[in-house]
């Protein structure tokens, strides 16, 4: 019932992928699943309709049906189309050549504007810019107080005139002040408003006119449903926004709203807000997000993370060891330490291709304590034992267990697992990938709700 988009797409595409030939019926079945998956991810109905339409057309092309691996072709096409839909490679903010760059933030109530303002201020402050915030939400009780607090935390100046002044005047005044104080960026926080509230939308248009922002950003909650399109269209008309800040992406919503807004308005998503902390704010990478939805893993992000941590020479050594099948427990220990430097493992798993399909891994809270135990066990071995785990028998086992404060069984288990791992590596080095069929069985595809149309 609650299958996530990437799980659904993966399951569907694995079915197609595992087959040598592809019939029109197969394509129809795959389209139905994709359609349902996208709808459950809150992608707008009309966007889904046209998306699957294009998709089907491409998938039924002769170059796909007659190719040697039609399933792979379908996956490739879905990925391409999805990336296209998300908006290519993304873009940066437009900065003024002189004077303060004005960024106007708008959105519905509760979408997270005020927090996003502070996060953006911090983000820009990090790159050395001097940032000020203008408090133009005079309606929600204590909104100004909130901006003052989070603005200070973000290291930005907050320009406010309480709640009695007119928001348009506050914005104009704040811009003057930002000029006088030679701020490089002025971020204007506005009240949340309904796109059908003519009066407030008019006010937003006025603020826009008075401050001539370089970028107007629409703040959209990632959990928004079908209505995201209507909201975005209205804001596009009145506020002529240039880009989107997607908030609450740290939840488990797949952010179908992101797809819809981009598809309907053509405006790119510039930033993603991914957590409670002010630092949890980053540039949005549409191409990566598409792969992530498809379950191909956010490999680029993972590689970037790894590059920061992994010594290249070490990586080469490892490669050689894997090729010559001389990977030892010592190497394993080094690897494990490297990986752990990249952060908590549970975060990394989600970035790995195919891992989304493995339920038990996806929801697994990786037990870091278990890893500590493994380290302790290896550290209690002699260099000879680490290089040659096969010699670990009776008394050695007992000594290692005592030395690491573990049980003999745990030592045993580690040695066994390590042995299996080496076998698997040998397989992989000889070019055999793990059996996708097996992975599918592990994912235990849940029964789907019946849905009529394809």
């Amino acid at each position: 019932m609650f299958d996530q988009l990437s799980d659904r797409l993966q399951a569907t595409l694995s079915e197609v992928r595992s087959r040598g030939t592809l019939s029109e019926g197969d394509v129809d079945a795959a389209m139905r699943e994709i359609r349902l998956a996208l709808l459950e991810a809150d992608v707008n109905f009309k966007v889904v309709k046209s998306f699957t339409g294009t998709l089907k057309e491409r998938c039924l092309g002769s170059d796909v049906l007659e190719s040697l691996d039609p399933g792979q072709q379908v996956v490739k096409i879905v990925n391409e189309e999805l990336t296209g839909l998300m908006g290519g490679t993304g873009r940066d903010l437009a900065f003024a050549s002189s004077g303060p760059t004005v960024i106007l933030m708008a959105g519905l109530q509760g979408s997270g504007k005020t927090t996003a303002c502070a996060k953006l201020a911090r983000h820009l402050g990090e790159s050395g810019k001097s940032v000020a915030l203008a408090a133009c939400d005079v309606y929600r009780p204590a909104a100004v107080d909130q901006l003052v607090t989070v603005g200070e935390r973000a290291g930005a100046a907050v320009y406010q005139q309480g709640t009695d002044a007119d928001p348009v005047e506050i914005a104009a005044w704040a811009l003057e002040r930002a000029r006088a104080e030679q701020r490089e960026v002025l971020i204007v926080d506005t009240a949340g408003r309904l796109h059908v509230d003519a009066e407030l939308m008019d006010e937003l248009a006025k603020i826009r006119k008075r401050t001539r922002p370089h970028d107007v950003l629409l703040v959209v909650d990632a959990m928004t449903g079908q209505d995201a399109v209507g909201v975005a269209e209205s804001f596009a008309e009145t506020a002529e926004f240039d880009g989107v800040v997607m908030t609450k992406l740290d939840g488990d919503a797949r952010g179908g709203a992101a797809l819809s807004v981009k598809a309907v308005t053509g405006k790119p998503i510039l930033f993603a807000s991914t957590g409670e902390k002010l630092e949890a704010f980053e540039r949005f990478h549409p191409d990566r997000m598409a792969s992530r939805i498809l379950g191909m893993g956010d490999v680029l992000s993972l590689i970037e993370k790894a590059e920061q941590q992994v010594d290249e020479r070490q990586a080469e050594d490892l490669q050689k060891k894997l090729e010559s099948d001389s990977f030892s427990l010592e190497d394993f220990l080094q690897q494990m330490r490297q990986v752990r430097k990249m952060g908590p493992l549970s975060g990394l798993i989600g970035m790995l291709p195919g891992m989304g399909a493995m339920k038990q891994l996806k929801n697994a809270e990786v037990d870091e304590g278990e890893l500590d135990r493994v380290e302790a066990i290896i550290l209690s071995m002699t260099p000879l034992e680490r290089a040659n785990p096969a010699i670990i028998k009776g008394s050695r086992r007992k000594r290692i267990a005592d030395g690491s404060g573990t049980k003999v069984q745990q030592v045993n288990q580690l040695v066994k697992q390590f042995d299996q791992m080496r076998k698997m590596m040998r397989q992989m080095m000889s070019g055999k990938a793990p059996d996708p069929q097996q992975l599918m069985q592990m994912s235990g595809a849940a029964p789907r709700p019946k849905y009529r149309r394809g």
């Binding site: 997270g112 009780p141 309904l194 059908v196 959990m223 928004t224 449903g225 609450k248 179908g256 019946k450």
Partner: protein, 332 residues
């Protein structure tokens, strides 16, 4: 079906609905319907026209497809949509519902109302003091809803209310609640920012007991249901409350933003696992969002909607009426 404030609150042995509260006049009730209908159908002409004009003209395959489309666009979700439409289709095919536009439409409203009302019960405020716990993800309108509930309890029912500002996380959340406590004439218990939310709830109940107050309403910080540690914190707040009064909290409400899509189901499910949610407050129905996700929540989780929010004004928080909701959804 409770459709007025005096029906939606179960005040137990208390002298419920004091004399100064007039039962809602039929006229005012109608006004409310109109308001709901208007807000529900505001810039939603497309859906409205589709259903009322062409949908039930002729009953054929296309009818069911369009109906599915309409319900999906209302965020009712694929499963619930399929269930509702299949049921209606079956009934028409078997002849238990005549294949006549009007009859089918009426039956659809009935089915939708039935789904939306699954497991309905009043808001239980019979405890002395009664404790109402408000939970939900960030930005769904918890604090505003609490302010309005407090206002109704205090101004219309003459009850003494204590507000607990257990949202110690969001900057200025307590100030926001403080403004509401003044408007409602309720007492506010708060701590410094970053304080322990459990301690605030504890203090509020202790204060309510000492003063013989009727109701304690506990505001909590918005949190995403995926944040395990914050959900644990919420469960702890509940435990702190239950330790002081065995049956408390007597009512736990989750606020769901009407613009929320299918993720609303997960929100309701996971919050319910943590703190046993009794009902939904569907907020922000004054936009163009249809709030159909509450159909899915009632259908799949058996958690009924109890209140709806249609705007920022005090009078914009209303008891939920499933039939009105279904009617308004189809602009009938």
């Amino acid at each position: 079906m409770p459709t007025s404030w005096s029906e939606i609150f179960d005040l137990g042995a208390r002298d419920a609905a004091p004399a100064q509260v007039e039962p809602e006049s039929e006229e005012r009730r109608r006004g409310v319907f109109r308001r709901l209908r208007e807000s529900l159908s505001k810039s939603r002409q497309a859906l409205v026209e589709e259903i009322s004009a062409s949908l039930f003209d002729r009953i054929d395959d296309e009818t069911w497809e369009r109906l599915e489309e309409a319900l999906i666009l209302a965020d009712a979700g694929a499963s619930t949509t399929a269930e509702v439409v299949e049921r209606l289709e079956r009934e028409v095919e078997s002849g238990s519902v005549p294949a006549d536009g009007e009859a089918v439409r009426d039956r659809l409203i009935e089915i939708l109302a039935e789904v939306a009302s699954g497991g309905r019960a009043p808001i239980d405020l019979s405890g002395e003091p009664a404790v109402l716990l408000m939970v939900g993800v960030n930005g769904t309108g918890k604090t505003t809803t609490i302010g309005k509930i407090a206002w109704h309890l205090s101004q219309e029912f003459g009850l003494s209310v204590v507000l607990a500002a257990a949202d110690t996380y969001r900057a200025a959340a307590a100030e926001q609640l403080a403004e509401w406590s003044q408007r409602a004439g309720a007492e506010l218990i708060r701590s410094e920012e970053g304080g322990d939310p459990g301690a605030v709830a504890y203090d509020a109940i202790a204060a309510a007991r000492a003063r013989g107050a009727d109701v304690v309403v506990v505001d909590t910080a918005g949190r995403l249901h995926t944040q395990g540690n914050l959900m644990d914190e919420l469960a702890k707040v509940r435990r702190v409350i239950a330790k002081q009064i065995p049956d408390a909290p007597h009512e736990t409400l989750i606020s769901i933003d009407a613009t929320t899509g299918q993720n609303g189901l997960r929100q309701a499910k996971i919050f319910s696992e943590a703190v046993e949610v009794d009902g939904v407050v569907l907020t922000k129905l004054d936009g163009t969002a249809k709030g159909g996700i509450v159909l899915a929540i009632a259908n799949e989780l058996g958690i009924p909607v109890k209140l709806i929010g249609m705007g920022e004004g005090l009078e914009d928080l209303r008891p939920f009426d499933p039939t009105d909701f279904a009617r308004a959804l189809l602009a009938e």
